[in-house]
Amino acid sequence: MNRERWNQVDRLLDAALELPPEKRAAFLDEACSGDEVLRKELDALLASDDGARSFLEQPALEVAAKALVDKKDSLLGQIVGHYKIISRLGAGGMGEVYLAEDTRLGRNVALKRLPDDLITDEQARRRFAQEAKTTSALNHSHIVTIYDLASDGQRDFIAMEYVEGESLRARLQHDKLSVKQAVESAAQVASGLAAAHSAGIIHRDIKPENLMVTRPMQIKILDFGLAKLIEKQRGQFAASNVTTAHLAKDYDQTKSGVILGTVSYMSPEQAEGRPLDHRTDIFSLGVVLYEMLTGHKAFEGESAIDILHAIINKEPSAITEINPQVPLELTDILAKALAKDPAERYQHAGDFELDLRRFKRAFETNSLVSARVQPLVPHERARKKRMGLLWPIIGIAIGMSIAVVAWKMGRSTRQAERALNLRNVSLTALTTDPGYEGEPTFSPDGETIAYVADRTGTFQIFLKQISGGPDINISNNSADDVQPAFSPDGKQIAFVSTRSSSSNLHYPGVDFPLLGGDIWVMPAFGGSARRIAESGNFPSWTPDGSMIIYTSGTSRFQSQMRRVPAQGGQAQDIPITFKTDEPLAAFWLYPSYSSDKHWITFEAGNNIFVVRAEGGEARRLVKGKRPVWSAYSRMIIYSNSEPGKNFSLWQVPFSTTEGTAEGTPEPLTVGRGRDIQAAVSRDGKLIAFAAQEISFNAETLPFDSEIGHQTGEPQPATSGGKIIYALSFSPDGDSIVFRDYQAASGHIWRIDHGSSPIQLTSDPQFDDGSPRWSPEGQTIAFVRRSVNESQASSGAVGSLWLMSPDGANPRLLIENAVNPVWRPDGQAILYGSVVDDRQNQLFIFDLVTKSARRVTNEPGVVPVATFSPDSRWLIYQSNASSLDLRALPVEGGESRVVVATPHQDYHPFVSPSGKWLYFQPDHKNIYRVPGPAQDWQRGQPTKATNFPESGLFLEDPQLSHDGRQLLYSRGRITGDIWIMKFER
């Protein structure tokens, strides 16, 4: 810009700035008189001025020093005590938080740097350490555990459990909680508070900033005991003028919103500076619950003083006026929590929790007296089924102390153990976390259970007393530890771990247990573990404790049974053969030794087998999963489901002399969840099992298919406790069709962005799946099987059908066809079909000429395939050797292997440019290699997604048509351990 012009601009800018903003436009209209460039220049400057108030107001020296602080302060890579700092997680109310590795225990921790003025002298430090120790005794699933106090010589850090998630504050900022979620969250906090209070620890600063939310939604309370420490050190709250102390010491320079937010959750007694007891936390939790339900703070005001005044004197606005969804029963509960007088409040957090859980059950089952929600009229229900109402979560009754199962009375009892009095059975939940707890194993005295939980982010083994008490993590390792088995003398636990193993654990299928890892043994009450066999699963001890049996194999076949001395040594195969008419079973799972040492029972192909301990021909006993011997080997207890029902525990009598089933199976439980993984105490009086819930929900992930990286965070497209997969995007990416999976039959649903799912097929005679939206969007292809056929054998032949996207006009297209894939031009469909030699081959059906042509002619074709965007290539799975991906030119030519990793390589799909072939090893993270548009250059597969691998199971990944969203179904297994007690 030249000086003359600028002088003109400068003068006019001066004049305009003198004017009030609303008069500037008129002035400039006049002054610029048609000089558009001048006018634009001035408008731009005025706009900049508007946002430049604080711009450059910090001197450069300060800017530079802060940049330095940011860099230094990240502390990346530094060692603090025995913690190595990995990254900065953020800043919380009480200081900076870092992700660090505990180099002794090899686990991740969160390190919180304490404010410098907190620890002023040795005495204060000792007192702090003592408090931290008390707090660290709080091992509860809803409390972020404090591990210890560390120092780098200058600064003090608290090492605590690392929780992946966000604060409830952050969650509330981007998400509104449903009544159910709010109540569940509050109940979880209450349960954490109850545990802490009974240990004599008060939080004193319960607020959304101090509550971490993990996925699936689970709340963990942060900073237990810290508030008190800080008060002690700084003399806060001691003075009557709490406000001044609080504001001046802690928050004077932060934005006023933060001050208000902080004061907002105080209890009246806290606001008045009176002595506090545990009931202050109950009040604060009430305030949090109020906010979760309404999006508003219970006590609001212009200033901190106003808010404190409201807390002490006023009642919050009626909740139902803000959120009419909140039933009256809940407002009653809330009113009790928010009573001004502590004596009128819930006296124990546990009571608060109980009321919340009771309310939640009633709310979920629509049995509230106030019942504001009108049930759907039958007509409407038939037309449009709303998933939320029809699919209530099965795993109810979390936190119920005792429930009695409805028992099917047994027939007359012959064996000693049948003297169990089946009328006096009690059922107790041993664990209640929302995450995964399973795989229980009894100590020989029957008083302790070892089990697996994922509450630390990986699978870890915990000990817990049946009578209650803390959950003790005996794994303390960053690896996955699963499948624990107590030794017969109770001194050791055999388990499977990925520590020192190159392979991760993975689920070979929706319904399978984790495979991979090595067999390890560790002292039962903690200590160093040793590996006794490479590559194996499901360790089980011989009754004398000398040997451990397990199954082993590759990712395709887990079909070796082995035996290794428990002290370590050479593993030997136990040779097992099957009758030729038995279905081939690639995965042998859960071997278990009988107490009389004669038999091994195991699961293979959804059937329970027995084989002599030394090997031989296996005999099929019953259909079922996860067998285990009863106390005297007279029964095999296992898990099975009847069509349309959940898995429950069953028992079948067994003759140890004959090696056969000696009667008909009987159910032991009603299947409150997916009841599986039974363990029997040595005296036979207790059975522990896991009541699980498997859910698969669709998620979309913003993605750049050229760069091969996510561009946003995963967004759930469906929610609930059902299994859905076989997903397909509509061409515009706004809708998804999918299949829900029920025991006997599945149906096809559609979900449009932001609305509830709509059921497209519902005929109970048919099992419908593999929906695929056509490229022009007017047709959905799907596969239909008859239910009777489906049940008769898992490999029932399907036929290919078409229908409209609203489910109308279903019509048969081709028989004997599975897994349709539209050609990008929409004029043809690729599908798999079983040919004469009982092998799958791929065919293309031309919709114009109405003729099919076979395109593959090789063994091992798995009909999970895709077209390249130019339709010149087919890419498909092949198990000719291991599960590889092959590409075949559509117009003829040889197929070639394009992906061959040591894993099972599933679900190929190609980016819209054709440059990248994406695929998924072992149903975990997605990888890619150069695709057809790069002439299939060979290269190491590179990882394109970055999900934590522990417990990860993604199904059906695919790209939207524009290549900017990934769609997949994410599997989650959650569950609780229940103890069934037989009174004699």
């Binding site: 030249n2 001025d49 450069a60 020296l61 802060k66 940049a67 330095l68 410098d116 003025d117 320079q253």
Partner: protein
């Protein structure tokens, strides 16, 4: 305090050397810069350490006091004769600009070359982050501004890099404080537009 009569009072070694080096630099002695830079860096790190120790990095009241202190130590007016003050502060601001921008430049290089670990912050505590002011970009924009409005550029240099108040800048440029305020506002508007 009578500023003009403290010329002979005892001086700390650092402030005296800073003053002398500044004058030497202003007279064309580039070697003086090499000696000045570590002194500025020293203040910078000292300031950074103070920030790090303070509980809340967003603590503006306290930090502006810290910054003033740092500037005062670097550019100690007590050691400069009244007549030279204007000249001296102008030079000091230039120097600060040069050193801080060079520092920022090398910092940025290290960052690019140093394989800074990129970690996704998808699921963590809310991170409050002030918008980072890019000293290098400001330096470049300021040079452009100087081409057609040297006075505004100078004002920004003195206020932003030199840490001076409106009154001080007004005094040294011999214009009214009100003029400085207006010019500063317009300069900021232009710079902000230029940086976006």
């Amino acid at each position: 305090m009578e500023k003009g009569h403290v010329k002979h009072s005892p001086m700390t070694s650092s402030s005296s050397s800073v003053s002398q080096l500044l004058i030497a630099w202003s007279q064309g002695d580039e070697a003086a810069l090499a000696q000045l830079t570590p002194l500025v860096y020293h203040e910078l790190h000292r300031l950074a350490r103070r920030y790090m120790r303070s509980e809340n990095p967003g603590h503006t009241l306290q930090t502006s006091a810290l910054v003033n202190e740092a500037y005062l130590r670097l550019i100690d007016q007590k050691n400069v004769s009244w007549q030279n003050r204007s000249h001296f502060f102008g030079i000091a601001a230039q120097l600060m600009r040069r050193i801080l921008v060079d520092h920022a430049r090398s910092h940025a290089r290290q960052k690019r070359g140093g394989h800074a670990q990129r970690l996704s912050l998808d699921a963590t505590v809310i991170l409050t982050k002030e918008r980072v002011v890019d000293l290098v970009a400001i330096d470049e924009a300021l040079s452009k501004l100087a081409e057609f409005d040297p006075q505004k550029s100078r004002i920004v240099e003195m206020k932003f890099f030199g840490g001076l108040t409106n009154d001080e800048v007004a005094e040294y440029l011999n214009v009214s404080s009100r003029t400085i305020e207006r010019e500063w506002r317009k300069a900021k508007a232009w710079l902000k537009g230029a940086l976006e």
